[in-house]
């Protein structure tokens, strides 16, 4: 607004209604000094104020008062929170304890596993070796049934037809 005699445009009036601080200093100072522009703004403002008042007056009143609002859920949630907090504390303690135990048992487990692994390796070595069994066991295992000839077996388990019927 270069010319001070010029009035505010419709848009500027609307902008002043939205937020007067958003107007430039020149426009603001003009609005402060110019009664015509002030009247325009006031007229629109009073229309809007009247709109609010009419809406308020012509709206019905609620027939019922607000029902008593119970905050049961809040009390319940408070109790729940206390319980949850207690549970959380117990859980944390349990976790800490289990951590301690877990670290101990892991050491033990590692030791046990290494021993087992050594034993397994020893066994594998034995298997891979030729005639891994001690001599005593070899005597039992190799040709253990060779001395049972047919005659002996016939004696132990005779054939049926050789029996004489009584």
């Amino acid at each position: 607004m270069k010319d001070k005699s010029m009035h505010l445009s419709e848009d500027q009036i609307l902008l002043s209604l939205v937020d007067e601080n958003d107007l430039s200093e020149v426009v603001k100072s003009h609005l402060l000094a110019c009664t015509a522009c002030q009247e325009k703004k006031t007229a629109l403002m009073s229309e809007l104020e009247h709109l609010r008042q009419m809406a308020k007056d012509l709206a019905p009143l609620p027939r019922q008062k607000p029902l008593p609002l119970l905050r049961e859920s809040r009390h319940f949630s408070f109790r729940l929170r206390v319980l949850a907090a207690g549970f959380a504390v117990v859980l944390i303690i349990a976790c800490l304890l289990s951590l301690v135990f877990f670290t101990d048992s892991s050491k033990q487990m590692t030791a046990r596993l290494s021993t087992e692994m050594e034993a397994h390796l020893y066994l594998i070595d034995e298997i891979l070796e030729e005639s891994a069994l001690p001599e005593y066991y070899l005597d039992i295992a190799v040709n253990s049934y060779s001395y049972f000839d047919d005659e002996f077996l016939e004696f132990v388990v005779p054939l049926e037809e050789q029996f004489d019927p009584v």
């Binding site: 809406a55 019905p60 009143l61 008062k65 607000p66 905050r71 809040r74 949630s77």
Partner: protein, 209 residues
């Protein structure tokens, strides 16, 4: 702690301060800590305001009453979630707006399947009124809703919150979770459309004169 400071803190605890925002914050704080009387006071403080706000958007007294009750139940259940008690009003309006949006969504869905029966409030206020008042009222709401239909959803919300529900720009921004500049832009556009609504404006001018 000196005497004056002690007195101030006691007043704040008891909600005896003169500052309405501080008083409201104290009420909210007490209600959050389980004080039923504070909760009831909060509800009665905002009951009419929220009822009207819902009525402007639904046009039905019965629906507005039901929705208002639901809004306050939701408010009491979710009060713990409110971070800043000073922003209670904006928070409550957000609940209300969301509830109204849900209502309209549900209504449009039901009307799509044609399962609703339109119930008009013939005498909403329950008070005897003459024919002229009735016509005036009908005409006002007709023009009002005609204007709001011309506005976009955002423009309508901003305009109604500012000039009908009388919320400040900052409160509207908090309610709609928009920036203040966005709110101002929508408000400016809505005002432009309001200026081009001859029916409502002539009604308002007539009434003013």
């Amino acid at each position: 702690m000196n005497r004056r400071h002690f007195r101030c803190s006691v007043e704040m605890d008891l909600g005896l301060t003169n500052d309405p925002i501080q008083k409201l914050s104290n009420l909210v704080g007490n209600a959050r800590s389980g004080n039923r009387a504070s909760l009831e006071e909060l509800a009665s403080l905002f009951h009419e305001e929220i009822f009207r706000m819902v009525y402007y958007r639904t046009g039905s007294q019965m629906d507005a009453e039901d929705l208002t009750q639901e809004i306050f139940i939701k408010m009491s259940k979710n009060l713990d979630r409110l971070k800043d008690p000073a922003r209670f009003k904006a928070w409550l309006y957000r609940i209300a707006l969301n509830r109204v949006s849900d209502f309209h969504r549900k209504k449009s869905l039901l009307s799509f399947f044609a399962t609703t029966t339109a119930v008009e409030d013939t005498k909403p206020s329950g008070e005897p009124h003459n024919a002229l008042d009735h016509i005036m009222k009908k005409e006002f709401w007709h023009q009002f809703h005609r204007l709001t239909r011309q506005l976009s959803r955002k423009e309508r919300e901003v305009f109604m919150l500012r000039y009908v529900d009388q919320l400040g720009i900052r409160e509207i921004a908090e309610t709609l979770r928009n920036s203040e500049s966005t709110v101002k832009t929508h408000l400016y556009r809505a005002l432009k459309k309001f200026k081009q609504a001859p029916g409502l404006r002539s009604l308002l001018k007539e009434s003013l004169s």
